[in-house]
C-alpha cells in the first residue's frame, strides 16, 4: 500500500511495471488508471494549477486506501497524486490495484478514484488566455460516492 503526493511528474509505464512486478504471483489482476489534464473542448487551457493541503492530503489518501483494502481482497495498491502547475496532457494522478481476481481490482480502483475526487483535499485552478477560475466540484462526483 503506497501513497505518494508529489510535484514532479512520474513515468506511467515504469510505475505500472514496477507495481505489477511487486504484485507478484498472488495477484491475477492488476488495474491501473491515469488521470490527465484535459484541455478545453476548443483548446486554450494554458495551465492547471493543483493546490493541496499538505499533511491532510496524505492522511486522507491513506484512509481512502485503507478503506479500499478492507472492502476488497487487494494484494497491493498505489495512489500517486501531483500538485503544482501542470500543462494540458500532463498526468495528474494514478491509481493501481492488484488482486487475485479482476472484479476486486476494478471495483477498488473505481472506489479509489471516486473518493479521491471528492474527499482528498486537492483544488484545481484552470488558467486560460481569457482568465483563471477554480474548477467547481460536480454534483455527479458527490453522487458517485453513494454507490459504495
Amino acid at each position: 500500500m503506497t501513497v505518494r503526493v508529489q510535484e514532479e511528474t512520474f513515468d506511467i509505464g515504469a510505475e505500472a511495471g514496477a507495481f505489477a512486478v511487486r504484485a507478484g504471483g498472488q495477484a491475477g489482476a492488476v488495474v491501473t488508471f491515469t488521470g490527465v489534464v484535459r484541455d478545453r473542448p476548443g483548446g486554450g487551457l494554458r495551465e492547471m494549477v493543483i493546490e493541496h493541503y499538505p499533511g491532510m492530503t496524505e492522511r486522507a489518501l491513506s484512509s481512502i486506501e485503507a478503506e479500499a483494502v478492507s472492502r476488497w481482497a487487494l494484494t497491493d495498491s498505489l495512489i500517486i497524486h501531483r500538485f503544482g502547475p501542470l500543462a494540458p496532457g500532463d498526468q495528474i494522478m494514478m491509481v493501481a490495484t492488484a488482486a487475485p481476481h479482476r472484479a476486486d481490482a476494478f471495483a477498488a480502483a473505481e472506489y479509489l478514484m471516486d473518493y479521491l475526487k471528492s474527499r482528498a483535499p486537492f483544488w484545481k485552478k484552470e488558467i486560460a488566455a481569457d482568465g483563471a477560475e477554480w474548477v467547481a466540484a460536480r454534483d455527479e462526483d458527490e453522487a458517485a460516492l453513494h454507490r459504495w
Binding site: 483535499p121 467547481a136 466540484a137
Partner: protein
C-alpha cells in the same frame, strides 16, 4: 490560539493562507461568525457556508463541531481531486 488555514478561492478572497487566531468560539460556526465580523473580505469568503467545507486537525468536520482541543481549522471549497 488556533491555527486557521484557507485554501483555493477562500485563501484568495481572504488574502492569506493561514493565521493564528485567538478565540473562545465554542464551535466552528461561532468561529466563522467571529471571522466574518472582522472585515469585508472575511464576510465575503464566509457568505455562503454551503459552498465551504471545514477540517479540524486535518479531518473533515461539520460547522456545528466543537472546537475543544482543536489546534488547526481549515476552510476550503468542495474538493476537486483526481
Amino acid at each position: 490560539m488556533i491555527q486557521v488555514m484557507y485554501f483555493a478561492w477562500v485563501r484568495e478572497r481572504i488574502g492569506l493562507p493561514r493565521e493564528k487566531v485567538e478565540t473562545s468560539a465554542g464551535t466552528v460556526r461561532d468561529l466563522v461568525e467571529e471571522l466574518a465580523a472582522r472585515e469585508a473580505r472575511y464576510a465575503a469568503a464566509f457568505a455562503d457556508l454551503s459552498a465551504l467545507r471545514v477540517a479540524l486537525d486535518q479531518e473533515l468536520a461539520d460547522f456545528d463541531a466543537p472546537l475543544d482541543g482543536v489546534r488547526e481549522v481549515a476552510f476550503f471549497p468542495p474538493m476537486t481531486g483526481g
